[in-house]
């Protein structure tokens, strides 16, 4: 892999117009990655999902070079109907389209940040890989007091022409004072066996509101990793919803720093898995100052030999008095081969806090099924009704009604 990495790296650098300094930084990151390799189960954070093994077993040899010199045709059929929205389209990791057609042009700034590499707190070897290979990096700045009229949908498409590729993406968002953004990440892939490595960085200034919905719905055989870093200032609110369902493997990491007083973070997630899929959500909520709040709800429905992992951590700094932190994970195992692992963690250094977590896993309640069947439903209907209700709970947490309906339709949840 080492030779391949070096060769692909050199090819990649050739196509970019980079200063000597930036090349140095990218090289440094590459060396870091070569030294550490893909994370494996020996690392505590990857204890339940050995990415190194997963890549070896499902992809084999990866290549890291992507030819981004020519444009890809944007397939408009994947666009969401019935919801007016702004678009960013990534195809095979290349930005093909940025379109804020519904917004005031002077209120949104798109800054090319390709040369500046931002460091992530809690970084792992994948952030090094990302730093070394990302081609273009844009920063989307929502200006002071501007609230986007329509949601922004980012389409992540991988078309059928590529396989065994590593694709690296990076986007930065800055939401200035009193601004707001609704962001949907939509994954649609027709290709197989690629490894997608996405890093987002969000900076929320005072009173800013971010709503991020990540939807991985369509069946595919790709391996995905996504890392969201969210820094929050005073009174800001972040809401993250994750639907984890379609990919072979998907690990979503949310690292949220509540730096300002009265800031709050909400993370809600659904795992709906079948076959031998293996998904993970890992959250780290850092309560760094007083009067901050976080709430997490993760529900899983696991069929066949699928496996879901939830690792959630609430960290409370010694200054962060009056913190309110809550975490709940629930799983229904529908098959004897399915597996649910959880590590809900609390690390608390302040005394005047209210922190709790709960985790439960088990089978569908037979009594409930009996109840429904005695009222005339057949077994299949009762089962579906119960699962429907179980998941609806999480979807109802979505605060945007338009997007709530969109997502409900996507998963086929009825009210």
């Amino acid at each position: 892999m080492k030779e391949q990495l070096k060769k692909d790296f050199d090819n990649n650098i050739k196509n970019l117009n980079l200063s000597q300094k930036d090349i140095e930084i990218k090289k440094f990151c590459l060396d870091n990655f070569i030294e550490k390799g893909f994370p494996n189960r020996k690392e505590e954070d990857w204890k339940f999902s050995d990415l190194n093994q997963l890549i070896k077993n499902n992809i084999g040899e990866l290549s890291f070079y992507n030819d981004h010199t020519s444009t890809n045709k944007v397939d408009t059929s994947v666009f969401v109907d019935g919801l007016e929205h702004n678009k960013i389209v990534f195809i095979n990791g290349r930005i093909e389209k940025i379109d804020f057609e519904y917004e005031k042009k002077d209120q949104i700034e798109i800054i090319d940040q390709s040369e500046t590499i931002n460091e992530f707190k809690n970084s792992n070897s994948l952030s090094d890989l990302n730093n070394a290979f990302t081609n273009k990096c844009f920063k989307i700045l929502v200006k002071k007091g501007y609230q986007l009229i329509k949601p922004l949908i980012i389409y992540h498409s991988i078309n059928s022409k590529i396989w065994s590729k590593n694709i690296n993406l990076r986007l930065n968002f800055e939401l200035d004072k009193d601004s707001s953004l609704r962001l949907i990440d939509l994954f649609s892939d027709t290709s197989e066996k690629n490894f997608l490595n996405i890093f987002y960085n969000f900076e929320l200034k005072e009173n800013a509101v971010l709503k991020n919905y990540k939807v991985d719905k369509f069946e595919n055989k790709n391996i995905k990793y996504s890392f969201n870093n969210i820094d929050q200032d005073k009174n800001s609110v972040s809401e993250t919803f994750i639907l984890s369902s379609g990919s072979k493997f998907f690990k979503n990491e949310i690292n949220c720093n509540l730096n300002g007083e009265y800031s709050s973070a909400f993370v809600n997630g659904i795992f709906s898995l079948n076959n031998d899929k293996h998904h993970e959500i890992r959250t780290i909520i850092n309560h760094l100052t007083k009067n901050t709040k976080s709430y997490q709800l993760i529900k899983s429905v696991l069929e066949e030999s699928s496996k879901a992992v939830y690792q959630g951590k609430i960290f409370v700094n010694s200054d962060a008095q009056k913190t309110d932190g809550y975490q709940l994970s629930k799983a229904i195992l529908l098959n004897k081969e399915s597996e649910f692992n959880a590590k809900p963690e609390l690390e608390i250094y302040a005394d005047d806090v209210k922190c709790s977590h709960g985790s439960a896993s088990g089978s569908l309640n037979e009594d409930s099924i009996f109840y429904l069947m005695s009222r005339g439903l057949n077994y299949q209907q009762s089962r579906e009704l119960l699962i429907n209700g179980f998941l609806l709970d999480v979807v109802e947490k979505i605060t945007d009604s338009q997007i709530k309906n969109l997502i409900k339709n996507m998963i086929g949840i009825k009210e």
């Binding site: 505590e44 010694s318 590590k343 809900p344 608390i348 005394d351 709790s356 985790s359 089978s363």
Partner: protein
């Protein structure tokens, strides 16, 4: 001044902090094959026992000290320790208590452990371990009548080799982790209990551990076997003198419960916790593991951890037999600069197995407390259940409380439920108590005892009273 206040004042300092001036036989300093042979030799052990030790030592040589735990500590120099220390008077074993060194008797009297006949009215059989050897075992005769074996493990190696050979290392093998392997290589003494088929042990069995010599590590090994349909309740208590250096305590405890048997193991751990600035104290790195080998067997751990500079232990249950039950009740209190990383492991292998974990952590001062636990339901453990509840109470803003549970469910017919909360004593509760005439310290004592009640209830009567007092004393000075 009321009585309770007086009592607390008496106990304010670590009252077990004295040391006994007694002549010792020690093994040469350091850890090597010769020292292991020395220990084996002085105990007159058979060849298979020495082989067991050397096998463990071979394995130990390739192991590295683990470092994933929350409380970090300075590197221990394993060559700078004495691995064997025994009172000289124990060389020719005294045949009865009358021949026992009066200084030893005096020590145990001061500790409140009655070894002499006249004091044995409270109906607990005691095995007293002083540094590396067991000095006295009481009530032996009465237990023998029922066929119960309760003796120092070194005696069991001589007198009941078949039993020891069969079960020693069957739960904690010589190939286990760093500290367990170290113990297997150099363990000196400890208790051995065998309850024969169908016998309900008529009294509580108890071991009292005392570290006296300085620069000594204590490595005791306890093996309890409950044969089919038997029951035993076992208590363990520990203290050590106040010294400026840190002392290592790495014990192994193995429990085996056969069909329908039940073992109840209670610990009140009160090793010297170090002074107010965190100087000195015991490193308590203990491996405790119980195997529910037979059907319908049950193992229950209850622990009250108030002492030690660092506590690092996870009493575990391997639920192998169908319908077996594992329980874990724990109170861990840390104050000043104490650190604790404790919890349990419940490994469900058999069908219809059940486990329950109740953990209460209280941290005060500048201390740090971690609950770390594993619940693992394997794919064969059909219809198994686990319930976990871990609550933490914080006093002051310099301490920390952490919860790190690992939950693995590989069986769709099994259920796991986990709950954890972290909070402080509410102003309302304190106000209510004070309004009714309690001073702030008493109020905290009352609330904390209520918080711990679920666990305290599990302790045998005699221990419960002591533990309740201990809870109050450990938190002394943390209010205000």
């Amino acid at each position: 001044m009321n009585n309770r206040q007086k009592e607390i004042d008496n106990l304010k300092d670590y009252k077990y902090g004295f040391s006994t001036d007694i002549e010792n036989i020690q093994a040469p300093k350091g850890l090597n094959e010769d020292v292991i042979k020395f220990i084996s030799n002085i105990k007159n052990e058979p060849a298979w026992m020495l082989e067991f030790r050397l096998k463990a030592f071979d394995r130990f040589k390739v192991l590295k000290e683990p470092d994933w735990q929350k409380p970090k500590f300075p590197k221990i120099d394993y060559q700078d320790l004495y691995y064997y220390s025994a009172p000289k008077s124990m060389k020719d074993k005294p045949k009865s208590l009358d021949e026992l060194d009066p200084k030893l008797l005096e020590t145990y009297k001061k500790l409140g452990i009655p070894l002499q006949e006249q004091a044995r009215l409270n109906g607990i059989a005691v095995d007293a371990v002083f540094d590396s050897v067991s000095v006295a075992t009481t009530f032996k005769d009465e237990l023998t009548k029922q066929g119960i074996i309760f003796c120092p493990i070194s005696e069991a190696i001589q007198n009941h080799p078949q039993l020891v050979k069969k079960y020693l290392g069957s739960v904690i093998p010589t190939s286990d982790h760093f500290f367990a392997t170290l113990n297997s290589a150099v363990f000196t003494d400890g208790s051995f209990v065998y309850i024969p088929e169908g016998i309900r042990c008529p009294m509580e069995l108890s071991t009292y551990f005392r570290i006296n010599a300085s620069n000594t590590g204590q490595f005791e090994r306890t093996l309890i076997i409950a044969d089919k349909g038997s029951y035993v309740s076992y208590l363990e208590g520990c203290t050590a003198p106040m010294r400026d250096e840190n002392q290592l305590h790495a014990a192994n405890v193995e429990l085996v419960a056969l069909d329908d048997a039940e073992i109840k193991y209670s610990t009140v751990q009160n090793w010297y916790p170090g002074d107010k600035d965190g100087k000195g104290g015991i490193y308590n790195f203990v491996t405790k593991r119980g195997l529910c080998k037979g059907k319908n067997s049950k193992i229950s751990w209850t622990q009250v951890e108030t002492g030690s500079a660092i506590t690092w232990k996870y009493p575990s249950c391997i639920l192998k037999g169908d319908n077996s039950v594992g329980e874990f009740y724990s109170i861990a209190i840390t104050n000043n600069h104490q650190k604790a990383d404790t919890g349990t492991k419940m490994i469900h292998l058999g069908k219809n197995t059940k486990s329950k974990i109740i953990s209460k952590g209280i941290s005060a001062g500048s201390s740090d407390m971690t609950y770390r636990g594993l619940v693992d339901i394997s794919s064969k453990a059909k219809n198994s259940n686990n319930y976990t509840q871990c609550d933490s109470l914080l006093m002051g803003n310099k301490c920390g409380a952490h919860t790190v549970p690992y939950i693995k469910n590989k069986n769709s017919e099994s259920n796991i439920a986990h709950e954890a909360t972290t909070s402080k004593i509410s102003e309302e509760q304190l106000h209510y108590c004070q309004q009714r005439g309690l001073n702030p310290e008493e109020a905290v004592g009352l609330i904390v005892n209520g918080f711990c009640k679920e666990v305290l209830q599990q302790l045998p009567m005699e221990f419960a009273v002591e533990a309740q007092k201990l809870v109050g004393i450990s938190l002394e000075g943390s209010v205000g």
